[in-house]
């Protein structure tokens, strides 16, 4: 069984994001970039499936400018076997990306496609569901546990009230939640090995996909800031303030 994993290059999760003064977006110049954390979980899960002899090959896919090859190298260092880079400088949005992934899936014929549930930049939480729709495959989103059994997968999902278990037939799309696994750190030998693994390049034109944006960002602003308040001396003062000043209890 071949597993395909989609990965996204985002601003590093530990970087404090700054909105540009001209309101066109957030500052990305000289900012540390990394693989979206949910995508790391996706790669880890795919590699574990191969290590458990459930998957035979793990193919990592990303779309974007030349720099996304760094992110694909990170996926290869975690343990993906090879990578595909859909090369474009165009502004990509979830629907366009889902169409690109669908076209790649048509070539690769994976039985399972794993994506992060959302990227920590745009917080859209859309691409996996859209890809499943376009492929007419079932979707197991926000997964915290995966078990492949023959032609189907049993997936535990994190839902608002707790957990839900679904059985989905393969091929399917799965998106990862935080607790699916804890991604490994790539070891130095594996990072070196990753440099020799192949990255194939494709373009949206070669895949016959129109990635024109459907959403136009008019402006980006900082949220209204909350100011810190006062320190209280003890529990009694806290309760008194909450009661008589803030009037939120009592």
């Amino acid at each position: 069984m071949k597993v395909m994993v989609a990965v996204k290059r985002t601003i590093d999760a530990n970087v404090k994001v700054r909105v540009k003064a001209d309101g066109t977006g957030v500052e990305t110049a000289n900012v540390k970039m990394a693989m979206n954390p949910f995508c790391e979980i996706a790669v880890e899960e795919a590699v574990r499936l191969r290590e458990a002899n459930v998957a035979t090959e793990v193919v990592a896919v990303s779309a974007g400018p030349q720099a996304v090859q760094e992110t694909l190298r990170s996926a290869l260092a975690i343990g993906a076997d090879r990578a595909i880079h859909v090369q474009t400088d165009a502004l990509l949005q979830p629907l366009g990306i889902a169409k690109l992934l669908k076209a790649v899936a048509a070539k690769e014929q994976p039985r399972l496609i794993i994506l992060g549930k959302q990227a920590i930049d745009d917080d859209n939480n859309q691409t996996g569901q859209m890809l499943a729709a376009l492929l007419d495959w079932p979707q197991a989103t926000f997964a915290s546990k995966l078990k492949i059994e023959g032609d189907s997968a049993e997936v535990v999902r994190e839902v608002d009230g707790g957990l839900e278990t679904l059985a989905v037939s393969l091929p399917c799309v799965m998106t990862t939640d935080l607790r699916l696994n804890e991604p490994r750190y790539a070891s130095l030998p594996n990072i070196m090995k990753a440099k020799k693994k192949p990255i194939d390049a494709l373009t949206p034109e070669q895949l016959g996909v129109d990635v024109s944006p459907r959403l136009k960002v008019l402006k980006v602003e900082e949220p209204t800031k909350r100011k810190g308040g006062v320190k209280v001396a003890d529990v009694a003062e806290l309760v008194t303030k909450l009661r008589s000043e803030a009037k939120v209890i009592g």
């Binding site: 745009d122 009230g161 707790g162 008019l218 806290l238 939120v248």
Partner: protein, 321 residues
Amino acid sequence: MSALVIAEHDNKSLRRATLHAVTAAAALGGEVDVLVAGKEAGAVAQQATKVKGVRKVLHADDAAYAHGLAENLAPLVVAQAGAYSHLLATATTFGKNLMPRVAALLDVAQLSDISQVVSPDTFVRPTYAGNAMATVQSLDQKRVITVRATAFEPAAAEGGAGAVEAIGSKGDSGKTRFVKAELAQSGRPELTSARIIVSGGRAMQSGDNFKLIEAVADRLGAGVGASRAAVDSGFVPNDYQVGQTGKVVAPDLYIAVGISGAIQHLAGMKDSKVIAAINKDAEAPIFQVADYGLVADLFKALPELAAELDKQGLSKTKPST
């Protein structure tokens, strides 16, 4: 112009989350209809007719809709989409799972988690864990939207006089089967609608120590939440998690206990009306957003807090601990 809100329910009653999406839909300025797809969920459809501002309730009855599976619901929504300019759901795990599938089938973009309606084609939505608010215009003719519940007041559950219209089912995809749900039964208010929330972080050290949080929460009639660190450490289940990737809450009072205040946690609670923080570390970032900060050891402060609430006659329930 008219909007269709996809109702979330358990086949018995309408989830309160849906009322927020009705308000967002009404802000678009046109008619608002609600789709109730379920198994023997007639009572839910009736309930939806009473929601203020609802014109019509489309009701589809099929066992295929019993568990809100996106594979079965999406084609049903798409079949009704022709009559509507906007399709909305609240950005719960239900809405987040379903709506992008609907959008892709319609070949339109989705606007996720909107916090403001600027005009029928332009919306504000948080990005980067709420650190950058983007004003986004849709270039599509049809708009598929999920709504941030805390940004829109719930529509009144009574006072409407909508009519129910039965619609046909699109059947079962046969590709996905519901196996089971393990839902928490705490008896405490749900986080997204609780008026007060008491949350614990990594510093709680164990799940057992959450009893200290619960003792305070139960006195206040509050919901119990947690930081991602506390959930990842296995102290409490995933549905407790408040934050960018968990639940977004905005209660009247949020009490953060032993929570340092990571960006991703703040993203889920910084719109609370009043924030109180208890932390041993005076430099913890949580104090930069807290209205009231108490630098103290939580293992001492929490029992004191419970006792103080009793003393000042503020406890709602007779304390058991």
